[in-house]
Each structure stands twice: as structure tokens, then as C-alpha cells.
């Protein structure tokens, strides 16, 4: 691990308060590290200016890979490697290949998307994710503010700003 990381952690009880609070905190020039919620909060992406995920592009590319692989595999197998006559059709005829092509497209798109998601989110085996507050998996919204990138503000200023924005509790958390 690199140098120690220090965070101010605000706990919010209600998502409406949280959404308003995010606007207020960001309006004061504070950069929010991330917000953790127990359920999806509508509008939070816009409030935090989170960029649109590029996962669909990955999905499309994996899907196209699946389509091409499936067609190549079937055309090679049934057309060249071991030609078979099935129902009097040509060796390599498109319609019977469609179901397999569809399945492989979906399979590769799905697996590829999961893999991409894990890599993009930096989730890997034996990696213990940072837990700012375990209650974010139960009934609290947890906002983390990185002290290092908000050097313009003191700890106390950040604490009172969080309080003013509706945080019910403000803690500090450090990671090694």
C-alpha cells in the first residue's frame, strides 16, 4: 500500500437530504471521493457528476466477438473440418447457425461484462475493499471526502460543512 489515506466520513439517514447535501458540499468547492448507499439513489450520478459508464461499449465488443467466433466455429466445423448432411441442407447454411450464434453472443457479452466490471472497479480475489462505514450496507448513506485532495479546507471546516449539509454523524477514517 502507498501512503496513508485520511478521510472525513459523513453519515446521512435520508437520500433526499443526501442529494441536497451533495449539491451544497460540491458548491463549496469540496471534491467528494465517493458516496456509498444501501440502495440505488435516483439522480445521484448527476449530483456527483459521475461520467456515463463505458460498460455498454465493452458489452457490444464482447458480443460481436461472440457472434464472430460462433459463426467461424460453425462454418469451419460443419463446412470444412467435418462436413455433415443434416436435413438435406448445405454444409454451411446460415439459419441453423443462428441459435448457437445468439447463445455465444449473449454468453460472451455477459461474461465479458462481468469481467470488465470487476477489473474496472478494481475488485479482485484477496483484495479487501475499503469500508468507510459498514452501515452503508444496511440503512445509512456514507459520504467519503479525501483530505489529501481537499487541502484548501481544514478538517473542522469540512466537519461543519457536512453537519450543515444534513449529515447525522461525522467521523474520520484512515487507511494504511
Amino acid at each position: 500500500m502507498d501512503a496513508d489515506k485520511h478521510f472525513i466520513v459523513g453519515i446521512f439517514d435520508d437520500e433526499e437530504v443526501l442529494l441536497k447535501g451533495i449539491g451544497k458540499i460540491r458548491g463549496n468547492g469540496v471534491k467528494i471521493h465517493d458516496v456509498y448507499s444501501p440502495f440505488p439513489v435516483h439522480g445521484i450520478d448527476d449530483a456527483l457528476s459521475i461520467k456515463r459508464s463505458r460498460l455498454p461499449i465493452a458489452a457490444f465488443l464482447f458480443g460481436m466477438t461472440g457472434t464472430s467466433l460462433a459463426l467461424l466455429m460453425q462454418i469451419w466445423m460443419l463446412g470444412y473440418d467435418w462436413p455433415m448432411i443434416i436435413g438435406g441442407k448445405n454444409h454451411a447454411s446460415l439459419p441453423p447457425f443462428i441459435p448457437v450464434t445468439f447463445e455465444l453472443t449473449v454468453l460472451l457479452a455477459a461474461l465479458g461484462m462481468v469481467g470488465t466490471f470487476f477489473i474496472a472497479s478494481d475488485m479482485k480475489p484477496y483484495k479487501w475493499p475499503r469500508q468507510f462505514d459498514l452501515r452503508s450496507t444496511d440503512d445509512k448513506h456514507v459520504m467519503a471526502i479525501d483530505l489529501a485532495i481537499n487541502s484548501g479546507k481544514t478538517k473542522d471546516e469540512l466537519r461543519s460543512l457536512l453537519r450543515e449539509s444534513g449529515a447525522s454523524e461525522v467521523n474520520e477514517k484512515s487507511f494504511e
Binding site: 435516483h42 439522480g43 455498454p56 436435413g87 439459419p95 441453423p96
Partner: protein, 467 residues
Amino acid sequence: MAAEVHLQEERYIFKPRLRRNIFIFLIVGVLVFGLGLLLAMNSEGQGETAGHGSEGHASVEATHDMTASLQHETQEGSAADQHHAKSAAHHESDPWVKRLFTTLWMNNVFFTGLGIIGLFFVAIQYAAQAGWSSGIKRIPLAMGSWIPYAGVLMIGLWFLVKGDLFHWSHAGLFDANGPDFDPIINGKGGFFYWPLAKGTFPAFFMARMVIFFGMWFLFFTWIKREMLQEDLAGGVTTTHWLKARKFSTWFLLFFAVSSSISAWDWVMSIDTHWFSTMFGWYMFASWWVTGLAFITLVVVFLKDAGYLKIVNANHLHDLGKFVFAFSIFWTYIWFGQFLLIYYANIPEETVYFIERMKTAPYSWIFFANLFLNFVLPFLLFMTRDAKRHMTMLKVVCPIVIVGHWLDFFNMITPGVMHFEGGIGLLEIGTAMIFMSAFLLVVLTALSKMPLFGKNHPMLEESLHHHI
């Protein structure tokens, strides 16, 4: 933010200018129709001098032969001879008459679908207790106003077109000792004629047609009544919503059966020998995606004209997803029907696709159908942005509507016209006439009610809809 929009009741004003434009479209349609009819009659007239359209008649003969020889592989040899005799003895109208009847019937089936899908969409929203759509439900409801017109046209047209479109309506097919006896159609006779004798009046068939339209209209009236009475209530109320949900649920049960059977009755029975267990679903899927595209288009144009402030990109996104998803669903059904017939390779089944895929007037439509109804919507609607922007919706929805019109053309025409079919001015003119009549009825109905129910219990949810 939400509350200020909430209280304003909106009404659609069917402006004289738009009405005039639709009438101009109607008149152009009538002119195109008339010109197409003249051309069709003339091309027949030329054939007449050479002995009753010898060329045209020969090709009909050829199809009959092809059909017959394919069909009779499974039958006795003697039956094949009888079939030949039958097709020769048949009284056939002139090709232009058949063409006229075919296009009238085809367009009426297509626009019946647009009407009934309007009601189906509303019913789905109630049964699913959907909140997002509560601001746009009046548009599909207005489309339902076409149901009574479609019903009258369908019943009236049937008596006009039956001899040319519906092979099974010929009495000779059921006479076991006659020269035209057809054992396959005789086996299916009960489905049309019960409880009367086969070959007389198709009581069961007509009863179904009358009951379907009657029940659809009845459910439409009930659901519409609840939706409009809700507006008169003092405030937000669930009373009418609950009643509308009850009617919707019963309607969906009824529609599940009636949509399939109407597909067999009005479309599949044209190719009387042929059958497909997928067909009910197939026609429903085609109707449904067309209806969705039409609803989306009307919502987009209303928004463009400054109405429906309560509808935002999220609602358009949902409508776009509907069109996208059900274009794929239609393709799935299309392929499900095609692949089994292709692979099994049973002559009496494949003849249906050979007529459509490999014969000149229909081949391009067969492939255009897949391109317009699957490839284009699939690729153009794939991204999130495409479904949220009105420009893209205005491009894709008309493609889907035209594509499915071609789909219905290819479901109905080859079975009647064989090699003589095709899309000309006659077909385009008829479609224009039906389209303008449909628009006049729907927009008039829409202008007679508020554009959204201000007392709808889920309107608030719709205002906050976010995806």
C-alpha cells in the same frame, strides 16, 4: 418542480390546419388508389384480348400445381387428380378484383391491429400497475376508438372478399362425392362452419369475428369510462383506477385467446392448407410492435407541438425500449417459425416460405421485412441516447410501421395473388386512405378528452420517473 406542472389540465386541440392536411393526404390517397385501380384494370384488359389473361391465369395454375404436387405427396394419387380438376373448375375473379380485395383486407387487418393494440397497451399498464406511463395513457386509449370502425369494415369486407381470399369458403371443397373435394380442408371445416353444415354459412367463424370485436369494443368502453370519470372526481382517487385495473385484467385474458384466434381466422386461413402453431404469436408480435411505434410517434409529435410537458426523456426512453425490445421479440417469433419449417423440410409447410422467399414479387419484401423490422431498429435503437432523443425516435418508428405493413402484406397477399401480387399504386393508395381515416378518428377522439388524467393516482410517480 413537479407540483406546478401537476395542476394544469391539458387538452389536445385538433387544429383545422392539421385536419386539412390529413384530408389532403386522404384525397391524394384516393387519387393514387384510383390511378392504381385503373392501371390494374388495364393490365388485365390487355390480357383479356389474349383469352382471359392467359399469362396471369397460367401462373395461378402453376402455383396450384406446385402447391398441389407438394401437398399430395402425403395423399392418395387419385386425390391429386381431383385437386387439379378443382383448380380448373374454380370460379376466380379477375386479378385486379382479387388484388383490390386483398389490399383492402390486408390494410384493415393491419389497422385493426393498431386500434386494438392501443387498448392492449392501456390494459397492460393497469394490470402491471405501471406508474411511468400514467401521463401518456390517453394516446393509446384514443387509438382504441378505431376498434368499432375496424369491426364494421372487417365484417362488411368479409362478405365482399370471401370468395377470392378465403379458399375454404367454397362449398364444393366439402362435398365428399364432388370433384372439388379436399380432405385436408374438409378436416378443418368444423372450425369455420360449426354448428351448421360444412360449406354453408360459416357460423362459428362469423360468431368469433362478431364476439371479438364486440368484446374488444365493450372492454374499450368500460376502461375509457373509468379513465374519463376519474377526471371528474374532486381529487386524486383510486376508485376508478381499481375498476379500470379489473376490466384490464379480464380484457387481457380475453385478448390472449382472441388475438391468436383472430390471427388464424383472418390471416392464416387464407393459406388454408398450411398452418403454423406460432402464427397467433407472430401476428400479435407484429401488431404490438407497430402499435408501440405508433404510440411513440404520436407522443413525440405531441411534445414537438408543445403538449405533454409532463413527458420527458425518461418516458421517451421507456417507449423506445418497448419498440427496441419488441422488434427483437418479433424477430424471435419470426425466426422460431421459420427455423422449424426450414429444418423439418416438410413440403406442405415449406410451400408457404417458398411462395414468399423465392418468388419474384415477394422475395424483396421478405428480406426487406427482416432488414426494416430487425436490423435497423436493433442497430439504431441500441444506445441509450438514441432512445432518449426525439429525432432518432422519429426516424426509427416510421421505419418499423412501414416495415410491419410490408410484413402484413407478405402474410396475406401471396396466399391469394400467387405470382400476380406486388406493391403498386393501388396498395399504397389504400394504405394512405386507411392511414388518414385512422388518424382522423384517433386525433378527434384524443381532442375530446384531457391529454392526461390529472387525478390518476400514479401521475405523481410518472412526474418523478427517472431511469
